[in-house]
Structures are given as C-alpha cells and as structure tokens.
Amino acid sequence: MIQLSYLDYSSVEGKSWLHRCSAATKMIGMGLVLSGVVTLRSLPGLLFLYAILLALFFISRIPSKIFSLTLYPLIFAVLFIFVSGFRTYFILLIFLKVLCGSTGVVLLMATTPYPLVFRVLGKFLPSLFVTALFLTYRSIFILLNVLEETEHAIHLRGGVQWRYPWRSLVNISNAFGHLIIKGIDNSEKMYEAMMLRGFKNKIHYRGE
C-alpha cells in the first residue's frame, strides 16, 4: 500500500507527454484497453497490447517501484488456473488479461491526479457516489499515516513476534481497532470542517 504514495506522487509530479494528456483522453484510452482485454482471445493480440502498455509505462518514466503493483493480481489469478486443468494456453491467456488490465489502470492512476479522474467520473455518475469515492481516497492517506505510526509503536515494543503468534495476532487486531477508532474520530472532524466550508452533498473540483 506504500506504493499508493508513489502512485500519487508520480501522477502529480510526472512531466511526460502522457502526464500532460487530458484525463478524459486517458480514460477513453483505458476504456479501449478494457474492451481489448474483454474481446481479445488470442495470445499474440494480448501480447501486443501488453507490449504497448509496457512501452507506455517506461516511456512515461513512472517510478519502477510502482511496476510491482501491476504484478500483484497474479497472486489471485494463480487460483483460477485450477479451473482449467492446467492448460498452458488458458493460463497464459488469463495471466496476460490480468497483466493488461492491471498495467492499464496503474498507468492511468500513475499519470493522472485522482481529483481529475473523479472529476471526469462526476460527469456521468451520481455525485453522492463520486463524493464517497473522493472521501475514501483521501481517507486512505490519513489512515496510512495512523497505520505507519501504530506500526512503528508496535515494532519498537516488540509487538509482533512469530514465536508468540497469539499475542502478535491480538496486537495486530488492536492496531486495526485503533485505526478504526482514529478513523471515526477523524471522520467526525472532517464532517465538521466540510460543513463549515459549505458542503452540500457535492465536492466541486477546480475548473467547475
């Protein structure tokens, strides 16, 4: 989840031509990638699509640490190969579809600041949903800070040791409990601040 900060940093600070493209154009491009992933059923076609996405990824000078994020869904795709009876073609097809989809979305999020993505979504999705999406995205960073602090505190006190699995599990669960309570406290403060600034069920983005 730490890569999320890199993703956000890359989308704001990046200077490549893909970063300069409009959010709407990139989202249309993502739509095309998705339709390719849905309709393509040949390995050469999917390989070609993946090669294009990889080329865009490296041309856009996105930090290489983010690349591991595109490989993450493969962990779950491995489970799905059991359906097929271990057929090489099917496994490769599934893996390439996973990689094309994940590389596409990571490419979009690494080159487009999230308020711009939500602004485009706000044009055709209910404002309540887009506001919830925005607040969640913002809350992830708030909770990440709390989680990091709690993680350090637990680590310094030797809270997670594999020799004592039960005690470690209790400490990890307490950390999540702490995260939830802190999150709820923060959400109450956030609501008060939003009301003071005139929030009325819709967040307005710059340029609206």
């Binding site: 999406l133 969640t136 909770l143 309570i181 109450e188 609501y191």
Partner: protein
C-alpha cells in the same frame, strides 16, 4: 477469498453485465430507503471505513492468498444500506490498483455486500441470543464469509461454458500445446473431457484456503470488536448496553 479476483475478460459479458444491472437496482432501492441528510452526514465515516477496508485488502497473507476484508465490522458500524455503497467504493478503488477487474465491479460489490449485510444481521441476531460479544461476532463473520465464498464459487461456475469456449479455441488454433494434443489424438473426446473445466478442483483449492481465511478473519474481527467495545462501545450500537 470471497472477492472475485478474476481479471477483465474471463467472465462472459452477460454475467458481468447482469452484475452491474442488479447492483444498480439494489443500490437504487437501498438509497430510496434512507434519508438524504443521513447519508451526507455519514459520508465521511463511510469514506473512513471504506479506506480501512482498502488497507485491510492490501495486507496479503501470501501462503493462503488471503487478505482481511473487514466487511463485517464495517457493516456493523455503517449499517446495511451504507455498507452497500462502501463495498462499491472499495471495489472501484481496488480495481483502479489492478486488484480485481473493472468489469467485475458489479459482481464483486454484490458478493462483498452480501458479506457486510449478512454479517450485520447475523451479529444483531446472535448478540440477542448469546449476549456474548466474542461468540456473536466470530460466528457472524465466519458464516457471512462462508456464504459469500459460496456465492463467489456460484458466480465462477456460471461462466463454465465461456471458459470451455476459451479453452477449445486453443484446440482450433493449435498454439503451444498442439504437439502434445496431437499425441493424444487417438481419443479426442475423452481428452477434451479430461482437460476441460474442473470446478471441483477449483473448489478443492479455494475451500480449504477459504476455511483458514474465515477462521483468521473471524478471530481478527472478534479481537477488533472487543477492542472497540472496550474504548467506544457506543459505536457498536448494541441493544441492552449503555455507553
């Protein structure tokens, strides 16, 4: 485990399309039933709980390919209507990081919200019966995860003919395994049946791993709720308990 970690393009269009339609219909009905002011007042809480779910989903327990969902605890804190919106938001954000496909957002939302809503209802029921927090929350979480995992298996099994079509395309094209298949060519029908879709094997892998996950999530959720109960019992809105 209940999350459908399938990429885009694996499930048939009619299946994920139906997922979006059913999700929209249920969402519309649920939001008609709650007041607008109530929703806007609880939006920051919804955002925080959805963020906690996203963070939980990012902590992968590699050997069993499991991550905690925190859907039941979120369902208890948010209530059945808002947990639906929260799971939708979580699925959209996870899909934007490549965790689950974009086209399966509708199906994922339905399955995860079954977990949240069922977890909430079971917890309320079991709390009334047992009056013991740990047992009530553990059982509610375990059962909710069990039901949602079977729902996921049900959804995967609905796409069987589509997977078969994808596998047989290989036979037509003859890529990679052509030579091997040629050797087996004496009994082609038998070979296709043998190498075709095997949902039993899928279940044999998913269910034991899922069982470990349900236990683990049940224990973690119980410990989290116990911690919250000690510090902020008002958040759980338990009947018969004064904060």
């Amino acid at each position: 485990m209940s999350h459908i970690h399938l990429p885009d393009g694996v499930l048939p269009v009619w299946l994920w399309g139906s997922g979006f339609i059913v999700m929209t219909l249920i969402g519309a009905v649920l939001f008609r039933s709650i007041r607008q002011e109530e929703v806007s007042k609880r939006l920051p809480l919804l955002g925080m709980m959805a963020a906690a779910m996203v963070l939980g989903a990012s902590v992968e327990i590699i050997p069993i390919a499991y991550h905690v969902n925190l859907t039941v605890i979120s369902g208890i804190l948010l209530g059945p209507s808002l947990i639906f919106l929260a799971t939708l938001v979580v699925n959209v954000i996870l899909a934007l990081f490549g965790h689950g496909g974009i086209t399966v957002i509708g199906l994922n939302t339905l399955i995860l919200s079954i977990e949240g809503i069922l977890g909430y209802c079971l917890f309320q029921l079991l709390w009334r019966v047992f009056k013991r927090l740990t047992s009530a929350i553990f059982l509610a979480t375990f059962l909710a995860l069990l039901v949602s995992t079977f729902s996921m298996i049900g959804v995967v099994s609905l796409g069987t003919s589509h997977y078969e079509e994808m596998i047989h395309r290989e036979d037509q094209q003859g890529i990679f395994e052509f030579e091997i298949l040629k050797e087996k060519g004496d009994h082609p029908e038998k070979d296709v049946k043998k190498d075709g879709i095997n949902l039993r094997r899928f279940m044999a892998v998913v269910l034991p791993l899922g069982f470990l996950g349900w236990l683990l999530e049940g224990v973690i959720t119980s410990l989290i709720v116990r911690y919250i109960y000690r510090l902020r019992p008002d958040l759980l809105r338990l009947k018969g308990v004064t904060s």
